[in-house]
Amino acid sequence: MGAFLEILFGGLMTGMLYSLIALGFVLIYKASGVFNFAQGAMVLFAALAMARFAEWIPGLTGLSHPVAVNALAFGLAFLLMIGLAWGIERLVLRHLVNQEGITLLMATLGVTYFLEGLGQSLFGSDIYKIDVGMPKDPIFLFEKTFEGGLLVNKEDLYAALIAAVMVALLALFFQKTATGRALRAVADDHQAAQSIGIPLSTIWVIVWSVAGFVALVAGVIWGSKLGVQFSLSLVALKALPVVILGGLTSVPGAIIGGLVIGVGEKLSEVYIGPHLGGGIEIWFAYVLALLFLLFRPQGMFGEKIIDRV
């Protein structure tokens, strides 16, 4: 029982972290109809920036208090992400207004390459450290009830908390504000949105900046977990089943989807895995999502796919 609870809990925590990355996908998709494959690269880029800035700042400014250094590095990294958003709008999106989804998707793949190259050449391709003071050691709860106690990871707990707050804020933003509505309009039809005076450029810079911010937060959390290096961008692959399970257009879906996938894959790996030889969690997550889609093709909370003549 204790073990089951631990796994369940561990799954929930991991799921929250997936949601954080999934959120980036949802955000951009919802606001511009672009499936942003560069999200993983953005996470990497942001984390690299944060890690290296934090490394450089003491030398350059003489600042040494870790909180101050981290805060400054975070701020600078965020500025960089805004710059990036602006650049992407200027050089890429603006020229691809009203093109099909798959073209846009492809463009984001191009951006992915570009960012990976740029990130590594600016910041290096070694392994770097982000230390925002997250505790690494486990705590044990209910040691009376369960033998060996119930293991909970503090780092995960903090990370999940941050993720939850972010998600909640963004969900609110999208819900009823006029800007939220405009973003959804853009996703539906670029041209029509233009025609009624929604400035696509501004909207896109804003959205990509927000997505950059989400990527930065995800990068900091995952980076302090995994170390900052190239593989960080591959974490995005773990977020894809989350996005489709939750629904491409739903912010709450990203959370629930994350939790379901997190729990599902951990439980499957521990309880089914050994019978199949192990290593099943990655495909299990996708199969889970796939099976779910058979019942609801738009995911849990996604907008219904409209086909009407």
Partner: protein
């Protein structure tokens, strides 16, 4: 026409799609402040293209203006974005409706007010006005636009543009798909806004009867060129226009039943 009150001046524009397809071959037209101008012409004549050129919506269709100039109150607007134009009060109602499929009718209408800065109450008032113009929309306000009927979507698209309180509206085939009284209603709205609020209209229309009845001035486009223009009243007296656009060759309206099989289309230009 004195230059001062020319709101929109399109000067010999050429439009090319996809780098190779030349569609407009030098179109010039003027729209005076406070007038209603009709743009007539058969299928594929280039009406939609002209409107897109004005509102700068060509890029998304991979088209581009390669020659000529477009001026709004004397200011070149070729380089402005569509959003800038809306900021200057020029808004287009696109052909083929283009409602935001996932948004409800009401949300569609409200996005129309995106550029307005005059407060919630004013927007609510305009919304009320639009609902009064199109009561059918009020019934459907909570339905996602994709699931409304063709005519309802058309009303939604028109209503959405009106929500921006525009000074000039480019209407592309507003009556398409509308039941006759609603179509009539749309033209009444045009007249109403034009007369009471001084809104200028440039409308591409296939319903020539109505268009000429409500317009002050008309341009006839064929094959990417303006082949005739004149005051609406004069145009509707013109024999050619009568025959080809009003279906009244020889005076009377002909029954659609009697169209002759050998009848071929006459063009002013090859």
């Amino acid at each position: 026409m004195s230059n001062s009150d020319i709101l929109l001046n399109v000067n010999g524009i050429e439009v090319i799609y996809n780098h190779v397809i030349l569609v407009l071959k030098g179109v010039s037209l003027q729209v005076r402040e406070g007038s209603v101008v009709a743009l007539l012409g058969g299928n594929g004549a280039g009406k939609t293209t002209t409107l897109r050129a004005v509102s700068n919506l060509l890029a998304g269709e991979r088209g581009a203006v390669t020659k000529g100039s477009i001026e709004l109150r004397g200011e070149r607007i070729d380089k402005l974005s569509t959003a800038d134009l809306v900021g200057r009060g020029v808004i287009q109602v696109m052909e083929g409706r283009h409602c935001f499929a996932h948004l409800s009718i009401e949300e569609n209408l409200l996005t129309g007010a995106y550029t307005r800065r005059d407060g919630k109450a004013a927007v609510a008032a305009t919304l009320e006005k639009v609902y009064n113009y199109f009561p059918r929309l009020r019934d459907r306000r909570a339905t996602q636009a994709a699931y409304t009927s063709g005519g309802e979507q058309q009303m939604c698209a028109i209503g959405r543009a009106l929500m921006a309180k525009p000074k000039m509206v480019l209407l592309d085939e507003p009556s398409m798909g509308l039941a006759p009284q609603i179509a009539l209603e749309v033209f009444e709205i045009v007249k109403d806004l034009n007369q009471r609020e001084g809104v200028t209209f440039l409308l591409a229309e296939q319903n020539t009867h109505m268009a000429l009845r409500y317009a002050d001035y008309g341009y006839i486009l064929e094959n990417g060129r303006v082949v005739m223009d004149g005051a609406a009243s004069l145009l509707s007296e013109n024999e050619d226009v009568k025959e080809f656009y009003l279906g009244m060759g020889g005076g009377d309206r002909k029954s659609f039943k009697d169209v002759k099989s050998y009848k071929r289309r006459k063009r002013w230009l090859a």
